[in-house]
């Protein structure tokens, strides 16, 4: 029995399991591997992993169905492994409740960063009161105050809500739909163009060089991610 976070790797390629076993082991994680959806669900139920890394192309069941089943009972972070060209699949997985995705092939640093970001984010009431930070930007939710290098920025209420939402999930991708729903409400879920305009305005105010954003990064076709 260890106190190391347990990562459940679900991938039908033994070679992928093989290198992940070495690298995650060396990075301070406990590891469990599954080659198929059924095995993954069984291990999820018996071992209660702290995070799941899930390949969407499984031999016995669609990976998205696995997300759906896990989300019925648990909010355990799920990182999806997917191909670069499968935008629709990624969005569907994120909409189903996956927390993030990594495009195959990936360097190990990328996956480790995502795992850290997902394990760090703890959704709770208390943390929202604390001051949040993105780079040089400090956000004080209680006072509705945003400062950049100790200089107050003037944000509209929606811009503030948008920035706050992003800042609460550092390093994690947030889909267009998710952001629109949280900030503007379910009726505006499809207004992606609207969101682009607000992100543009926000970047004008918080980024050093708005045309080369370093704080709020674009995930083309998917959504946005706050850099860590």
């Amino acid at each position: 029995m260890t106190n190391l976070p347990l990562v459940l790797i679900v991938d039908d390629e033994p070679q992928i399991q093989r290198f992940l076993r070495h690298s995650l082991g060396a990075s301070g994680y406990d590891l469990e591997t599954a080659s198929g959806a059924a095995e993954a669900l069984r291990l999820f139920a018996s071992r209660r992993p702290d995070i799941i890394v899930l390949d969407l192309g499984l031999p016995d069941m669609d990976g998205k169905a696995v997300i759906g089943q896990i989300r019925q009972t648990s909010q355990v972070p799920i990182i999806v492994l997917s191909a670069r060209d499968a935008e629709a699949e990624k969005i569907a997985a994120l909409d189903l409740g996956a927390n993030d995705y990594v495009v195959k092939p990936f360097a190990i640093g990328e996956l480790l960063a995502r795992i850290r970001a997902c394990l760090r984010a703890v959704p709770s009431g208390q943390e929202i009161a604390a001051t949040l930070r993105i780079g040089a930007i400090m956000i004080d939710p209680a006072r509705h105050l945003v400062t950049k290098a100790d200089e107050a920025l003037r944000l509209t209420p929606k811009e503030f809500d948008l920035l706050l939402l992003m800042a609460q999930h550092p390093g994690r991708v947030l889909t267009h739909r998710h952001i629109l729903e949280k900030v503007w409400g379910p009726a505006h879920r499809e207004d992606v163009a609207y969101l682009r305009v607000f992100i543009g305005q926000l970047r004008q105010k918080i980024e050093d060089v708005p045309s080369e954003p370093k704080l709020i990064l674009t995930e083309p076709g998917i959504g946005y991610r706050v850099a860590v």
Partner: protein
């Protein structure tokens, strides 16, 4: 020539004769050929009446005789028409005059009453003949129209069964010939010149005038009527078969020399047939377009499947390589030695796998884009050995049992391609059988072919999959075995390129097993 859409008859000419009669054409229907039978019959009628009159002169009243003759004239006119009626009238008058009018046995006319009788005979004959002729002409015309309609419907039915251009042309030629009784031809544009597609008679040659008229009809898409008899020009009328406002063929028709009414009818029927043939061509071309679109979609689908499959097969080794190498770089010091070694080994293995995929892809692409084999005299045993060396590298623990027959003579082939094909067969046999079972290879020579067989003790291939094992990207149900799905497709490609063949047999006994047999000619036809 009988088209295959229509009935087939052992003797085309005989069938043709029957067809023409069915279509309402008496053996001689043209006005150009007078028929003597009606005239002879008319004369016989009158002669019979005369004999009857002579025989019954004793009791028949004199006034009844002209009436009897009139009956003969009427009968002739009604049955045979105008001219036979007139002939009957003239003969009746002459006979009546000769036999029964004073002075007897002379042709002199004695009284005004006899002149009146003669005039009456002629007038009655002419009027009746004309009326009867007209009625008969109309009945004939109605019959002909019915026959034409009949033929048209038969033609339409024949067209319905056609699903290629040529049968349509054959049906058109056959049925138009039944209507016209003359030569018919269908011309098509080939390499910018009109050439004969279907003709009747089959050995027909068109003269220059006809060819020019045909080209005009094709180019302008409009009918070119035949030149009138006695003038220089085309004997055929040429009518384009227009599909989507473009002439796709031209029908050349000779019309029979008949009266204007019948000529008009025939022309109308023929034009209707040509229009129907055009519609049938349009339908066929549409079907061809749909078929072509379907094939294109299939090919696109295959390409998409290929890409999808490849992207998966290429990504997995790439993901392993990138993941392993980046782990080594980033986590290097914290990794235990065995882990580092294993990551390096994984990188090496996956790089090899990637390289094999790329090789397979390249070979497949080269086979598909007209690869020229480098033919030379090759020792088959040598090639088999080098394939075995490669196979043993790939499947280190596998036992390969070779059952070579007697010393095999040299084969004229491409050594590199042959080795590739053999390696793929060995690799395939090893992949799809338990790792502790052996793979058996035989090498046999027949008179002019060399046969390699590669046999494993795997579970075998279900019979419904055997037809597909050589298809690119086909993979059996055993998904645990990794591969591109190209190996056997490459074997077939190489076998075909080298003039040989590949076949599969499975299961070999109740325990399973699969045997692939590659046959190659000793002397390659491509080289000689």
């Amino acid at each position: 020539m009988l088209d295959k859409c229509d009935r087939t008859a052992p003797d085309a000419r005989m069938a043709d004769q029957q067809d023409r009669q069915r279509a309402g054409f008496p053996a001689n229907s043209g006005r150009g050929m007078p028929h003597l039978l009606p005239y002879a019959a008319s004369v016989l009628f009158v002669a019979a009446i005369a004999m009857f009159g002579t025989a019954s002169a004793s009791w028949l009243p004199a006034t009844g005789l002209p009436l009897l003759f009139l009956v003969a004239v009427l009968a002739s006119a009604v049955t045979f028409g105008f001219w036979p009626g007139i002939t009957a009238a003239a003969f009746a008058f002459t006979t009546y005059n000769f036999l029964f009018v004073e002075p007897l046995y002379t042709l002199r006319v004695g009284s005004a009453a006899d002149v009146l009788a003669l005039a009456l005979f002629l007038f009655t004959a002419a009027l009746t003949g004309w009326l009867a002729g007209k009625a008969r002409d109309e009945a004939d015309a109605a019959n002909r129209r019915a026959a034409h309609l009949d033929e048209l419907s038969r033609f339409t039915a024949a067209l319905g069964d056609c699903n290629d251009e040529v049968p349509v042309f054959e049906a058109l030629v056959h049925h138009v010939a039944l209507i016209t009784g003359e030569d018919v031809v269908v011309m098509q544009n080939k390499d910018d010149a009109m050439s004969l597609a279907v003709a009747r008679p089959a050995d027909m040659q068109l003269d220059d005038f006809s060819l020019q008229a045909c080209e005009r009809a094709f180019r302008y898409g409009s009918g070119q009527p035949a030149t009138a008899a006695g003038w220089q020009g085309s004997r055929f009328g040429f009518y384009p078969l227009v599909v989507d406002a473009v002439a796709s063929a031209v029908a050349g028709v000779r019309f029979p020399d008949v009266d204007r009414l019948r000529a008009f009818e025939i022309e109308q029927t023929v034009k209707t047939m040509i229009a129907q043939a055009s519609a049938a061509l349009g339908r066929i071309q549409q079907a061809d377009k749909i078929e072509a679109a379907r094939i294109r979609a299939d090919q696109e689908g295959l390409r998409a499947t290929l890409l999808l499959s490849l992207s998966h097969d290429l990504r997995t080794p790439l993901a392993t390589i990138l993941g392993s190498v980046s782990s080594l770089r980033q986590l290097g010091p914290s990794l235990p030695d065995e882990a580092r070694d294993d990551l390096l080994l994984a990188t090496e293995e996956e790089t090899r796998r990637l390289s094999r995929y790329v090789e397979d892809l390249l070979t497949m692409t080269r086979l598909n884009t007209g690869l020229q084999p480098q033919l030379d005299w090759v020792d088959p045993a040598d090639v088999l050995n080098s394939a075995l060396v490669r196979a043993k590298l790939a499947h280190a623990t596998r036992i390969y049992a070779i059952e070579a027959g007697q010393a095999v003579k040299l084969i004229h082939s491409d050594a590199a391609l042959l080795e590739q094909a053999l390696f793929n067969l060995l690799d395939n046999a090893a992949k799809f059988s338990p790792s502790d079972s052996s793979v058996t290879i035989t090498l046999r020579q027949a008179t002019d072919t060399l046969q390699f067989t590669v046999e494993n003790q795997g579970p075998g291939i279900p019979s419904n999959q055997q037809a597909h094992v050589f298809d690119p990207l086909f993979r059996g149900s055993d998904t645990a075995v990794k591969g591109t799905g190209l190996g056997l497709a490459i074997v077939r490609g190489i076998a075909t390129l080298l003039g040989g063949s590949i076949s599969v047999q499975s299961p070999l006994d109740d325990k399973g097993g699969t045997r692939f047999a590659l046959s190659l000619p000793f002397q390659n036809g491509a080289a000689t």
